[in-house]
């Protein structure tokens, strides 16, 4: 019964809602939230990847939640869905989060998170460029070369290399079994004391 009542309320208030939205748009110069220029032009402005031989070089692997290098999907989302038929479709798809989710690969987001969480620092400018380079379709070897050439410390360099390998689906070197046991089978390197009495 509650659902029916809600629908009735939604129907009765539809006109009022649309009027409110119209008034709101009038107040804000009738402009929908503009997609930031540099978001829509990132693909075009990204450095064109040099034509390296890609034989045997894997292509980036799109991971869950990603639409890597697909800027068209951002444009497709530029449809205001504001205030129609109550809350079922209420809201705007033009927003920061949607823009990022549409254009960024999961691995790229994870890279940013790793730098922030594990290195405890802001993402350096060089990383933004490398992510844009990857999005432009640069092959793995070019990215690895760019990382080697970048003026960054070794820790970040290693983290970036790990990001490239994960992005291109290169199997990480197998982890030896440090976990699963906490004591080796050889002679102890630290000896225990003996009690004398």
């Amino acid at each position: 019964m509650r659902i029916h009542r809600s629908l009735l309320v939604a129907t009765l208030t539809l006109t009022l809602t649309l009027l409110l939205v119209a008034a709101w748009r009038w107040r804000s110069n009738e402009s929908a939230v503009s997609t930031p220029e540099s978001l829509t032009t990132l693909a075009a402005s990204a450095r064109t990847a040099e034509a390296l031989s890609t034989e045997g070089d894997p292509a980036p692997v799109a991971s869950p939640g990603s639409a890597a290098m697909n800027m068209a999907s951002l444009a497709a989302s530029d449809v205001s869905a504001a205030a129609a038929l109550g809350s079922q479709t209420y809201g705007s798809s033009q927003n920061t989060v949607n823009a990022l989710l549409t254009r960024l690969d999961h691995q790229d987001l994870a890279l940013y998170g790793n730098i922030e969480r594990r290195l405890h620092r802001d993402v350096p400018r060089e990383v933004h460029g490398l992510v844009a380079l990857k999005r432009s379709g640069a092959p793995r070897q070019q990215l690895l070369a760019a990382i080697r050439e970048a003026n960054i410390d070794l820790g970040l360099r290693l983290l970036l290399a790990r990001w490239v390998e994960a992005s291109y689906g290169v199997t990480a070197a197998a982890s030896p079994p440090l976990h699963g046991r906490v004591k080796g089978s050889g002679p102890a390197m630290i000896q225990a004391f003996a009690r004398r009495k």
Partner: protein, 735 residues
């Protein structure tokens, strides 16, 4: 038999004046002085920032700005323009948060679940919130679950992948996630808020659950977490505020209740499920205040190393079985979280140190009562002393706030289950304390719905639930006062604050007195094994450690690190015989250190490390330590601290080799001139990173010559006495 009494150097390890102040210091790069210190002073302790909640704050300033904070404006605090929606102004098509229901044309149709995520990301984690929202977006919610996210980003942070740089928006945004990969909808905007203020929790709960009614309610507080002291949050106000005390955990339940009342949710227990998707919020002091507001409480006792909740799987699970009980969902969430954090790509810290627990919060009162009986038994005991309790606390390890790369940075947070188990099983503990600890342990087990544990923790039988039991010397008046304020509910019900006060009052800065001698210090060899004998009658003595150094002709010592270790009982006499061997890597002399100083020194299963330098093909060099288990014949992990990095990273040698096939590892020894005290690093030969990804370890006989053996004896408060003995090795030992 010749006996030489070595020079005895008594030193009190200076207690840290402020626990968190020390935490906030960034890790120092290894300096020669640092390593030398590890020989002659207490074991080296690195001070690294904790991975999550990395800027816990000093003091207990009350929260301010409970009415929404002040608008920051439409641009980032540093003047950068926001990326999309402009802070302080609603995005087109969406209204202000306060007007959400009206703008929607009334509340949404009732669903089975409304999951509200308090997305407090106004600091270093802005991009991480986006990552988790991607997981939410991918969930199959089938119209049965509404996920609403209140997102406050840090506008001084750069949007991932923007080149030229764009910044996160200022202000606060509210998103509706319908799942199934559908667009994330922004449904409201607000001015820049201070999400550290409990009143913002109350307000948001009131608005969201009024707009999105549901049969079941879940709230997830997403952010940094710092246990009872650091609390939840730390809103940087777009990078303009460094030190916010965060929200004390016990201030949250009243805000939740008030919010649900505003939303018109009339129920004694309005919340079906509550979670902190943060670090360090599964502790007795933190969880207990939630006992009357929700049947299901989910949090991490340890740092969350990055992956957080598996939102896709867990939200899909809730939608697929919307009538599942809160406990069933909580149990499933733990299983899903465990899989999420053990999948390839997670840090080593996850594999070995992770914790995640779901609790039946309604049973936390029983835990508090059982704990109260335990504290009464301890406080009333005439034989069980504060030193005994401190000894047990020290042995309850690994402590929390730990990373594989750094060890524990919050050594005062111990695993409650392990503490109780040690109290119940340690020889000499009075029977009434054993009984009370056993009861409390049963109460904790009874409250546990599910738990995920890293392998170091599982090996020690930990519960994945922490409690404050810090070193007495660190429990100063300021900290005890803070405990009384920010953990007052738990402290009052369990009496735990009195126990901490006992530790604080009993702590001293007096090093333990040590009787000590050496046999066969001269002309040592296989037929005359150099042997240290020592004892201490100090009631608070805890452990001993023996380190080795080679004495050069020019009077400098080359440190080889630890060769012996164990617990020390008052009045007992101990003996340590050096067999003339020391650790090597690929046949080269190396220095052996503990991975972490936590834990029972009698355990043979602690991790060890050998320091060195990692050099990449382009010539860049970074400090690196091989990490391995005691008794390992090869090393395969390395922890790297590069110049400029605030925190070290761990890699497998195989992974490094794969990235750079000309990289090398060079072990080093620390040399100190005993006269001038000048310290230098002596590098070995570079070792190419092998294709096998493993470097060979060994125990090799050392050459004849002069050596120094340093014996350190510690008490439970962190004080130590150090003695040094000269050994002349005339005949080398055989391999």
């Amino acid at each position: 038999m010749a006996s030489t009494v070595g020079m005895q150097v008594a030193q009190a390890t200076a207690p840290m004046k402020n626990y968190y102040l020390s935490m906030r210091r960034r890790r120092r790069h290894a300096s020669v002085g640092h390593w030398a210190l590890s020989l002659v002073l207490a074991s080296a302790s690195t001070l690294a920032a904790v991975g999550c909640g990395d800027d816990p704050v000093v003091g207990t300033t009350e929260n301010v700005g409970g009415n929404g904070g002040s608008p920051i404006g439409s641009a980032g605090a540093d003047g950068h323009q926001a990326g999309a929606a402009v802070g302080g102004e609603p995005a087109s098509g969406v209204g202000k948060f306060d007007d959400l229901v009206e703008a929607m044309g009334g509340p949404a149709p009732e669903t089975d679940w409304t999951v509200f995520v308090y997305g407090h990301a106004d600091h270093s984690l802005s991009n991480s919130l986006i990552t988790d929202m991607a997981e939410m977006q991918a969930a199959e919610l089938q119209g049965k679950v509404n996920v609403v996210v209140l997102a406050d980003f840090d506008s001084s942070q750069v949007l991932a992948g923007s080149d030229p740089e764009l910044h996160f928006p200022s202000g606060t945004e509210v998103y509706l996630i319908k799942g199934g990969g559908a667009d994330v909808l922004q449904i409201a905007s607000d001015v820049e808020l201070d999400l550290d203020a409990p009143k913002q929790v109350e307000r948001a709960i009131g608005l969201v659950f009024k707009a999105f009614p549901a049969k079941h309610h879940a709230v997830i507080m997403w952010d940094h977490g710092g246990s009872w002291d650091g609390g939840f949050g730390h809103d940087s106000q777009n990078g303009t505020r460094e030190d916010s005390p965060g929200m004390a955990a016990q201030d949250i339940p009243p805000a939740l209740l008030a919010g649900f009342a505003k939303a018109g949710v009339a129920s004694e227990m309005p919340l079906d499920l509550f979670s902190f998707d943060t670090c360090l919020m599964a502790g007795a002091e933190v969880a207990y205040p939630f006992r009357n507001i929700t049947p299901g409480y989910i949090a991490n006792a340890e740092i969350d190393y990055g992956a957080g909740w598996d939102y896709t799987t867990t939200l899909s699970y809730m939608a697929a079985d919307p009538n599942a009980s809160p406990h069933a969902i909580a149990a499933a969430e733990v299983t899903q979280w465990d899989a999420h954090h053990t999948a390839p790509g997670n840090p080593v810290s996850d594999a070995v140190l992770r914790t995640h627990i779901a609790l039946d919060a309604s049973k936390l009162e029983a835990l508090a009562q059982a704990t109260s009986a335990l504290t009464a038994a301890i406080l009333g005991s005439e034989t069980f002393t504060a030193a005994d309790l401190a000894r047990i606390a020290h042995n309850a390890a690994p402590a929390y706030g730990a990373q594989f790369e750094t060890g524990s940075q919050l050594p005062g947070l111990h695993d409650f289950g392990q503490v109780l188990a040690l109290l119940a099983s340690t020889e000499g503990v009075p029977a009434d304390i054993v009984d009370a600890a056993t009861q409390a342990s049963a109460a904790l087990s009874g409250a546990t719905i599910g738990v995920s544990l890293g392998e170091f923790r599982a090996a020690k039988g930990q519960a994945g639930f922490h409690i404050e039991l810090g070193l007495g010397t660190q429990l100063d008046a300021q900290r005890l006062t803070a405990y009384g304020k920010r953990a007052s509910e738990w402290s009052a019900s369990s009496g735990w604050g009195e126990l901490l006060k006992l530790l604080s009052d009993s702590a001293d800065q007096e090093p333990p007195l040590v009787e000590h001698s050496i046999a066969n210090g001269d002309n040592a060899g296989p037929l005359a094994i150099p042997t240290i004998t020592f004892s201490s009658t100090a009631a608070d003595v805890q452990s001993g450690r023996v380190q080795l150094a080679k004495v050069d002709d020019d009077g400098a010592v080359l440190v080889r690190g630890i060769i012996g270790e164990g617990s020390v009982t008052p009045g007992e006499e101990y003996e340590f015989s050096w067999d003339g061997h020391a650790v090597t890597v690929e046949g080269q002399a190396a220095m052996l250190l503990r991975w972490s100083d936590d834990g029972n020194p009698d355990d043979e299963d602690g991790l060890l490390k050998i320091p060195g330098f990692l050099k990449s093909s382009d010539g860049e060099e970074a400090e690196a330590s091989l990490v391995f288990a005691n008794g390992d014949e090869t090393a395969s992990y390395v922890i790297v601290t590069s110049e400029g990095a605030a925190s070290p990273l761990s890699f497998t040698l195989a992974e490094l080799r794969q990235m750079d096939d000309t990289g090398t590892f060079t072990p080093f020894l620390v040399s100190q001139n005993l006269a001038s005290k000048a310290v230098t690093i002596v590098k070995g030969q570079p070792i190419a990173l092998p294709e096998t990804g493993e470097l060979e370890l060994g125990l090799e006989p050392v050459p004849v010559g002069k050596y120094m053996i340093v014996t350190q004896v510690f008490d439970v408060w962190g004080n130590q006495t150090s003695t040094q003995d000269a050994v002349t090795l005339s005949t080398a030992f055989e391999k």
